[in-house]
Amino acid sequence: MKNSPVKTIVAIGIGAALFFVLGRFVAIPSPVPNTNISTQYGLLAFMAAIFGPVAGALIGLIGHALIDFSYGWGIWWSWVIASACFGALIGLVASRLSIEDGEFGQKGIITFNLFQVVSHVIAWGVIAPVLDIVMYKEPANKVFLQGLVGGISNIVTTAIIGTLLCVAYAAAKPKKGSLSRDR
């Protein structure tokens, strides 16, 4: 099923609002003090899988920028851009899975998770730290470690929450060709 452009616009808006609420208020305490596990990347992967890479990029961009705005610490552009890139990357692959048609079996789960790991590695292992160095001139080993920690926790949350969401959504959708004509 092809989504209409209006639906994509609304999905970006609502997706960014969800991203914001999850990032800002759904804080799961993690074992490391003062850090929370960000559940919003599971949502971002799911939305990108349904609505495609453009929606994924914009949800990441708007949602993350709004979070930064609301905390008032200025927009940390390098990480905002990394969020947008993750949305775009996972959207490129995952939107080819036909979750909208109610199909998300073992093969879908494996593809989805494989590419979410790859996208997270690119976003937090490469894009965020490199931009930190270029834009803010921070020491390299510090930003790469930050990227690594953030990346791993995001991979775990996406694997659990993203997969759960895709399975639940696919189960709620009628399967393609599930209706047959009575003869």
Binding site: A11, I14, V21, P29, T39, Y71, A168
Partner: protein, 275 residues
């Protein structure tokens, strides 16, 4: 919690500027502060933003909560930088003036302290201005201003939708969370990490699936009203530019030009008093 973005409606010259002007100024200011590490320039910006705070009649206690976050973030970042790279300043300023040693590779140098000063100034020159923007710009005008500075109106509308639905989604999250907790899910530190994530799933799945329905309803309503048929649209909250708007934008552009000129004169992004 309606006022999540902390907009404070209080008549002042800054509030009177249009949202588009404030957004342009914010962007120019942030680029200027981001580009250069010239300490003199960075030291000037916090003074300037303090003056703007006085003009805008935003008081310190209005923003103290947000400033608290900022201070924690700033301290944490500085400590991390020092732990990971105690000689970062030496490599940036190509000089080494040792003050004292903390043992091992943790030798405190003038250059390192100067780099930390720059880092702190960098926060102080970008964060107050963002706070000022958030406090003085009506969120509903924000979307209109995005369109004004050249962002496509469909994307500006997405931002407007996000701002409009954040309170609704927040309320819904709260309701679902309490309903699930009444059924015995646990999200605090008492549970193992995987259990906690799974219980987060038990809240998020109903929330997100109901949001998918919401997307359907809203997009149908918008399509019925012919959204996206024309190339342009008007905004209820848009206002024409006044003389002050133009002046504010010229001044901010001046900041950016100064930053670029300083970079050219210093030959690099850092102002180096050591060599």
């Amino acid at each position: 919690m309606r006022n999540i973005f902390n907009y404070i409606d209080r008549p002042s010259p800054i509030h009177d500027l249009t949202g588009a002007t404030k957004l342009v100024c914010l962007l120019l200011w942030s680029f200027a502060a981001m580009m250069t590490y010239d300490t003199r320039f960075l030291a000037m910006l916090p003074v300037l933003s303090f003056a703007l705070f006085v003009i805008s009649k935003i008081r310190l206690r209005d923003v103290s909560f947000m400033l608290g976050f900022t201070v924690v973030f700033m301290v944490l970042n500085n400590v991390l930088v020092f732990l990971f790279s105690p000689q970062h300043g030496v490599s940036l300023y190509h000089a080494k003036h040792v003050l004292f040693s903390l043992g091992g590779r943790y030798v405190v140098t003038q250059e390192q302290l100067f780099y930390h000063l720059n880092l702190v100034l960098k926060y102080l020159s970008t964060i107050p201005i963002v706070l000022l923007f958030v406090c003085t710009t009506d969120p509903s005008e924000f979307a209109a201003s995005l369109n004004r500075i050249g962002v496509k109106y469909s994307i500006a509308y997405s931002v407007a939708l996000a701002l409009r639905y954040i309170p609704d989604i927040q309320r819904e999250y709260h309701e679902i969370s309490q309903a699930q907790q009444a059924r015995g899910i646990e999200m605090s530190k008492k549970q193992t990490l995987v259990k906690r994530l799974k219980s987060a799933g038990a809240i998020l799945i109903p929330l997100i699936l109901s949001s998918m329905d919401r997307i359907e309803v809203i997009s149908n309503a918008m399509e019925l009203r012919g959204f996206g048929k024309k190339k342009k649209r008007t905004w209820y909250m848009a206002r024409p530019f006044s003389r002050w708007d133009i002046l504010a934008m010229i001044l901010s552009a001046g900041l950016l030009v100064t930053a670029i000129l300083l970079n050219v004169r210093n030959g690099e992004r850092f102002w180096n008093p050591f060599v």
